[in-house]
Symmetry: C2
Subunit: 354 residues, 2 copies
């Protein structure tokens, strides 16, 4: 199953709104004879890819798949049908598919044909490959993860705005891995103005090639037209844009979307999910400054927080995580339902689910 | 040795500038026949207390002591002399004593008399009982620990000032244990004004009875005279105090010390160490708000940070740890030389040494 999970990771960022699934076929001689992962939306599922790639005798083999095989024929053949046709004997499944059209039906179809199935024991990493898909199926909303790198004293930059680098090299490399598994990176225009980040995946020996979409929230059209992140992979969401800037952005291939302002005269974030879904962006990674994540939190649009805490002390600074929409009483604070505390190089790595 | 460490903890807070030491005597029949810990400054050391408490045959016994026995006779007999006189055969020592008058001499005296000695393997807890003493011996400065309880997003209170309670019950109980092991709790006048804390040890079944001194830094004499912490166990350090308040404080038994203001028109913290030492306060625990710990850090007066991070998100708030004297560049941030990441109930507990 660990190889199937690796395959699933290769699919992450490429398949939404389909789930990123990995599959491995093991022959009755106990050899891996095929591997595969879900292709882009509308293309082959993992099981089909694994079957197609298999060499040797597939009959009586065991299929490991991170998600229950589908029984639906839309753009691609139903996976259950191909499994049956290829006389696979045993199917080990990472998780059932909560999609109401599947949800156990895939398993039943296989069992009815004499193929034995088994649900694999709970695996944290496997679940993380499926969490955005499962959330989307359940709520029809994108799954949004906010990342922060902060000092021991809770600052994300010095008072002069310097933030290079708070977290360790290994932590920053890990961030690039998360980017590579995301459908899109979401940020605010202030981050573009002050840091001018490229917002792409930069990893040595990066095989996957996927670059997530870049989403910039820019209420009043303040983005500098020479920003590094502005290209055909970028979507700018705005409430107001002058024609000159609009033309420049179009010439760079930037997609422009409009959302009206809300009560606080900023983009009304209640409309954000539907725009993200329109572009099949389900697994969203937020890398922003103080303000935007607080606004997202206030709008119940934060599902997960990834927090790097670096052993540094910065002292006085106005740059802090979630620096907007504060609560008055501690008793009313936002409380994650689950938290994992670990380490990465010298940094502390906290994952929290809201 | 673990029982000797427990004994040392009972001594913590009571013995400065002497080290808080624990000792246990084990008979040649392998039974604990005596235990003891250092008494108040000028009174018996741990070894003498253990010898005095021993029942049964002390000859040929083994003495476990967290710190090298002293060879100095000032207010009390030299421990080495009593060990030799009582025909103890073997001495197991937690740590050598860095005091230049001892520093191996205690061990040599014992060995010369045919008593075998052994240095116990490094033990984190044992070292923590001695760290303030060792620091004081080396630098002739008090060892200062700053405590913070903060949310996941680095806030120590909501914007309205509410901080009850950010950390879990177990974390707060642990804070009372640290208080009970400290010579003094140091805070700023704003904490007294806004929170009016009692600043004492409140633990169910508290046997030790020690209450640390309370030190309040109050540059301009703003402390409300009815504050709960003002009593004969309190020292108020000020630069300016009107006579009326002075009389009220005196009537409550509060000790008053004067320090002139520095460049920033606040108490010049460079003079703080000598005042603390004057009162034999070596192991200092800081529980304060945003400002004072930043000023202490800037003056190189922070040795250790104990940070509770609670799984809560507060959002916008001006109350943050180390909220004064910021650095401009991340490269110039304060970097702990050692950090320990652990958990306590649902909170994350980080200890950092500067």
């Amino acid at each position: 199953m660990s190889e199937a999970i690796n395959q699933a990771k290769l699919a992450m960022g490429l398949t939404s709104p389909n789930p990123p699934v990995g599959a491995v076929i093991v022959s009755d001689q106990n050899k891996i004879i095929g591997t595969g992962h879900t292709q882009a939306y509308g293309k082959n599922h993992a099981e089909i890819e694994a079957i197609k790639s298999s060499s040797g005798n597939i009959q009586n083999s065991t299929l490991y798949t991170t998600l229950e095989p589908c029984n639906i024929e839309i753009n691609t053949p139903a996976c259950t049908k191909e499994i049956i046709k290829n006389k696979i004997k045993h199917v080990i499944i990472g998780s059932t598919d909560p999609n109401p059209k599947i949800n156990g039906r895939g398993i039943k179809i296989l069992e009815d044909k004499g193929i034995t199935t088994e649900i694999f024991k709970y695996n944290e990493t496997l679940e993380s490959t499926l969490e955005s898909y499962k959330y989307f199926v359940k709520y029809h909303k994108p799954f949004i993860t906010v990342k922060y790198a902060m000092s021991l004293d809770g600052k994300i930059a010095s008072n002069t705005g310097d933030s290079k680098w708070i977290s360790s090299e290994k932590s920053r490399e890990y961030v690039h891995h998360i980017r590579s598994n995301s459908d899109a990176i979401l940020t605010g225009v202030n981050t573009i103005i002050y840091d001018d980040p490229q917002l792409n995946v930069r990893l040595s020996n990066y095989q996957k090639k996927h670059q997530p979409k870049k989403i910039i929230l820019d209420t009043n059209g303040r983005v500098p037209s020479d920003s590094k992140s502005l290209d055909s992979n970028c979507i700018l969401i705005t409430s107001k844009l002058d024609n000159k800037l609009k033309d420049k952005l179009h010439s760079k291939g930037v997609t422009i979307e409009y959302i009206p302002t809300g009560k606080n005269k900023k983009i009304d974030l209640r409309y954000l999910p539907e725009i993200l879904i329109k572009y099949n962006l389900i697994n969203i990674f937020v890398e922003a400054g103080s303000t935007l994540p607080g606004e997202l939190l206030y709008n119940n649009l934060v599902n997960k927080i990834i927090l790097f805490i670096s052993p540094k002390i910065i002292g006085e600074s106005k740059f802090v995580p979630f620096g907007s929409k504060g609560i008055n009483k501690i008793i009313n604070s936002y409380k994650p339902k689950k938290i994992i505390n670990s380490s990465i190089e010298d940094d502390i790595l906290i994952k929290a689910w809201l």
